[in-house]
Symmetry: C2
Subunit: 245 residues, 2 copies
């Protein structure tokens, strides 16, 4: 444990159901949805998307698509949602496809969690993935504010990949924060076990979401989403949109 008074606090909320236990209004909330929302967000902004509007229902996504010149995309249960044209695979959002465009995105877990953080009055919101982990860590260290690592999980259950990313972030930034949080310790311990080969760890542990996406033939998506810094850009929520920070 580091000295309490000289450093900001870091905690991890491993499921959206737990977010309310933490002091959201005094913290930067880091939204984590590794497979695949926050990885796709990083890829789209890295490849030049003007902004991303996260919405929490498919209906709102379709509605915005009719009102504005945007790309509408989203998934439910790992597949493209009915009524939407594009899904939640980072490979969709190439520079050619997304540069200068606005994306309206809804996902099963990640976008809902972002709206929870907003409703609870978060001081700041960013999204994090392995794809942009360095940008995220640099930002958190620079800002010197309290941090809540908020995992989206799967329908309010914990999942391995989001816990791993929370652990990876803690492992990188812990010297700059005060930490008195068992969930942080659990996450970092898990990450230390897995870090040499995240994909293989997911496979060995038969992570539920690994299994689900492999069933849709999405191995390349999983590998992309577990690669550090392949879309290393800060994804900052500001005025209803995620923008490159």
């Amino acid at each position: 444990m580091t000295e309490k008074n000289s450093k900001p606090n870091i905690t991890a909320s491993l499921s959206p159901s737990l977010l309310q236990l933490y002091d959201v209004s005094s913290s930067i909330v880091v939204i984590i949805d590794v497979l695949r929302a926050t990885s796709t967000i990083a890829a789209a902004l890295y490849n030049g998307a003007k902004s991303i509007i996260p919405v929490d229902s498919v209906a709102d996504c379709i509605k915005l698509g009719k009102q504005m010149d945007v790309i509408t995309a989203g998934e439910r249960d790992g597949q493209i949602a009915e009524g939407l044209k594009y899904g939640n695979t980072p490979f969709q959002y190439t520079p050619k496809f997304i540069k200068g465009k606005t994306l309206v995105l809804t996902t099963t877990n990640g976008t809902k969690l972002l709206h929870m953080a907003l409703t609870e009055g978060a001081k700041g919101i960013i999204t994090a993935s392995f794809c942009n982990i360095s940008a995220v860590c640099d930002y958190l260290v620079r800002e010197k504010k309290n941090v809540i690592l908020a995992c989206a999980g799967w329908k309010d259950r914990l999942n391995i990949e989001d816990t791993l990313l929370a652990g990876a972030i803690i492992n990188r930034v812990k010297d700059h924060f005060y930490q008195n949080c068992d969930s942080c310790q659990i996450s970092e311990s898990l990450y230390m076990l897995a870090k040499d080969d995240l994909f293989n760890f997911m496979k060995e542990k038969n992570a539920s979401h690994y299994h689900r996406l492999m069933g849709f033939d999405l191995e390349e998506d999983i590998r992309y989403c577990l690669t550090e810094d392949n879309a290393n850009i800060l994804c900052l929520y500001d005025g209803g949109r995620l923008i490159a920070g």
Copy 2:
């Protein structure tokens, strides 16, 4: 993952806030509150207590104490609750003190969780600690029913010690159950890291509850609660009371 159809299901709920996500009414719920409620329960029943009535408020505990010939005990935030004579240390419940007696017990997290499981219509309820881990695992294997390992945590946050016990139970019984639960995998991974020296792991990770109890000079309590099978008895909830099974 084992074959789905031939074996009962095992899952882990790492916080009381998550219990509602699981199918409580078709499962045996295993209440886990290592420091110290479920360890104290095991010690008291092992040492001959007639039964233990778990109640979720200090007021109810005091009220029952006036109506019946019982020992009232409980803690809030790690210390003896105001108005109650005895606390939550397993060392209190020696054979001389507890044999043939009924104990009415209320604790910060564990007894509340037990009442949640009851309200949700659990098919069966037992309490588990490292102190009675073998009796718990033998029972679960023998019963061949779905199991939810329900961790009490600390005020709805995860804690390391309850997660470790969930992992230890999974590690012992997993061949007998179907498992598709990331929380189980996270728990078992943590346990495998810690198992050679649970006390030292808690110390190294500066587990929040380790820190809290050490502040009350309760190292011996912690060591007792992390010892396998030192009060190896099945603690079965039946008709409002916990009894030796």
